[in-house]
Amino acid sequence: MVNASIETHEFDVVIIGAGGAGLRAAIESIDSGAKTAIVCKSLLGKAHTVMAEGGIAAALRNVWKEDSWQVHFRDTMRGGKMLNNWRMAQLHAQEAPDRVNELEEWGALFDRTKDGLILQRDFGGHKYARLAHVGDRTGLELIRTLQQKAVTTGAEVFMEVKIVELLHDENGAVSGALGFYRNNGSFVLFKAKSFILAAGGIGKSWKFTSNSWESTGDGHALALWAGADLIDMEFVQFHPTGMVWPLSVKGLLVTEGVRGDGGILKNSEGKRFMFEYIPQMFAAETADSEAEGDRWYEDKANNRRPPELLPRDEVARSINAEVKAGRGSPHGGVFLDIASRRSPEYIRRRLPSMYHQFKELADVDITVTPMEVGPTCHYAMGGVRVDPDTAKATVEGLYAAGEVAGGMHGSNRLGGNSLSDLVVFGRRAGLAAAQSALEKGSSKLSESLVEDALNRALKPLNNPEGENPYTIQHDLQETMQALVGIIRTESELVEAVEKLEEFKERVKGVGAKGGVKFNASWHTALDLNSMLTVSEACAKAALMRKESRGGHTRDDYPKADPEFGKTNHVVRLQGNDITVTPEPLPVMPDELASLFEGAAQPTGITESKEVK
């Protein structure tokens, strides 16, 4: 035994994650008078939020006076195939405009309307042009604005710290988090009265993903291990348009803004195929001819929107079907064409970073040539089950906001709703966590808990001859891509669950060569724990949902089932086992339910013949 001292910090509120939700929570928490720290796995300002391109959805009514929070709420619920937590969707739609205006007050420079107001753009699933944006780099603007505000407000930031476990006090409340500085491997313990998880997504468990190395589901796993419930883990959004070529950037996102600004999808026969895939639920508001679709860009009041702007799950599935039918592009995608539809100047002005991205990475000039695109793993709808008003998890002392929280988006998220989700629920989490922390007395953390957690974290380093973590990570990604991908089926899901058991064994024998200083293989070995946990949660929840809905498509159950439409799947850790329990969805009050009267219900996978 070596006696070592561990750097320990005490705060009222500790926020894990420094993306949009974490930063917004920090600002609110500090404003509420709580001593607040932000802990993030990368450098400040590098979080995945920077990747958001299209915009932030809010019924500001700058472009369309007809818009309102009710319409936004309705769009969100329909996009989520009615599986959303209604209260979250309501709060989100109601508060998003204030959160956007507040960003402007903190220095964000959004694109403007002719009247000098914040400009809003069209996006899939949103009835009106609703996305406040800055070209196609809205996420960067959001994170920079919040980062600068948080730093000015006085947040303490612990950069490049990976949290390995949350720890409970004697009353079972989360009151500690053990982590280590990635740059020197020294451990650090945070004691706090409230912890906010704002750790983002889980996309790194799939092979083709728009997510960065960080999206290993740490937040989801930390919550589950700490005894919190997760919900809706089967719903993973595959963004319809990721790059498919060159291989090294396969999965990299192509913003929906391309379609919002006039881009169309074509198959190898040059056919604009989306007209074949309009589901009944959206038939009333979708153009049924190319001519009408094209007119819509100019005259939105008198025409219906083109089917390229259907919700993401519908478009992703349609692309998948085209490729499967042998009508794909040379590299296994379809063509996204804006070159033949808009002038080069327009494209460069509206989509500068897309132009840049294709030019530099694929050597393709998108003002001349169509892009090749295909579905890519993008977003986890599922996450920590929270109380809508306070973002509180089912364990005392724990809160969650942003992608790591579940319920807000139901079975499918609309584009633009993630950035607004971050700031709406980031603020609510910060407020509630701070208030609760300021009321609470201090608690005691057992040193033996810390010691156990620490020794678990060091295990890979003590086993330098163990299996290479990159190999396990690679195999896990292959497995999830192949068996729990965009189209799922019973036998494959069963196989996935079995394989994940094998991975658990392999991870026990994982080893990391080298020392504690910025050792990427050690970090990867530890990330594997979270990746495996979320993969298992996803596969098991997917196996139980015998229907197709939103981000969960079953080949063997292609229809939406109204019974499943009333059910959330709750994932819990019982002993060492991850279990899934169906529980009833909270019921919407009548005044909100009336917004949906007469509307078509979700039908599941759309077979073009059935719809027409």
Binding site: K46, G107, V134, L361, W522
Partner: protein, 256 residues
Amino acid sequence: MADLVVRLWRGDENGGEFIEFKIPAQEGEVVLDVVHRIQATLAPDLAVRWNCKAGKCGSCSAEINGRPRLMCMTRVNQLPEGEPIVITPLKTFPIIRDLVTDVSFNFEMLKKVPGFKPKPREADGTYRMYTEDVERGQEFRKCIECFLCQDVCHVIRDHEENKEHYAGPRLFVRYADLEMNPLDTNDRRQLLVEKMGLGYCNITKCCTEVCPEHIHITDNAIIPLKERVVDDRYDPIAWLGKKIFRKSKKVETDAK
């Protein structure tokens, strides 16, 4: 395809050396892909920072063949064929290990910036700004904080002691963003000259050359700031005009 030869700097504050790796070439790769393959197969503990791999987060900054670049935005086929690819950590900042450096200097400088302070909203509760008002600032806000400009700037690259009184190009872009913001009410010019070392810049334009976001750092941020400083303290006519005709903004003299 032929093998690639990659010469990577490995080491920490106790010293280091070039290690040469031979790895099969693959089509369409960027330098970061090659580094990742080396990490996954030949050197698992290789330290390298990266996040988005799409030129949007600014994490994978390094020096490739002596030039500061993002590894994720440097295609292998842009580099001289048949020659070794030489990759070293950013030179201006202390090394942590291998390709990872301690860039906290930049974050500390960012902390010192007196923040955005907007004027009150208009009577209807909005802020009226037009495209022409925001366009100029939007260029500055494209910055992804990769700190390549800070790395290449000879003021601190070659003179460590200047870090105490020189903020660097990234910070000047940030100051320009604030100073030219139509809503902001602070005047940070005195601070820029006295504490942030704007006068140390001798306009070599190296920062502009390396900027992966193609921000015209020198022409659009630094020189306009220098000119604004001239208004403030080297130009009696402008100074007098300001006294007579315009209300001054709140003058910031000290860092936060």
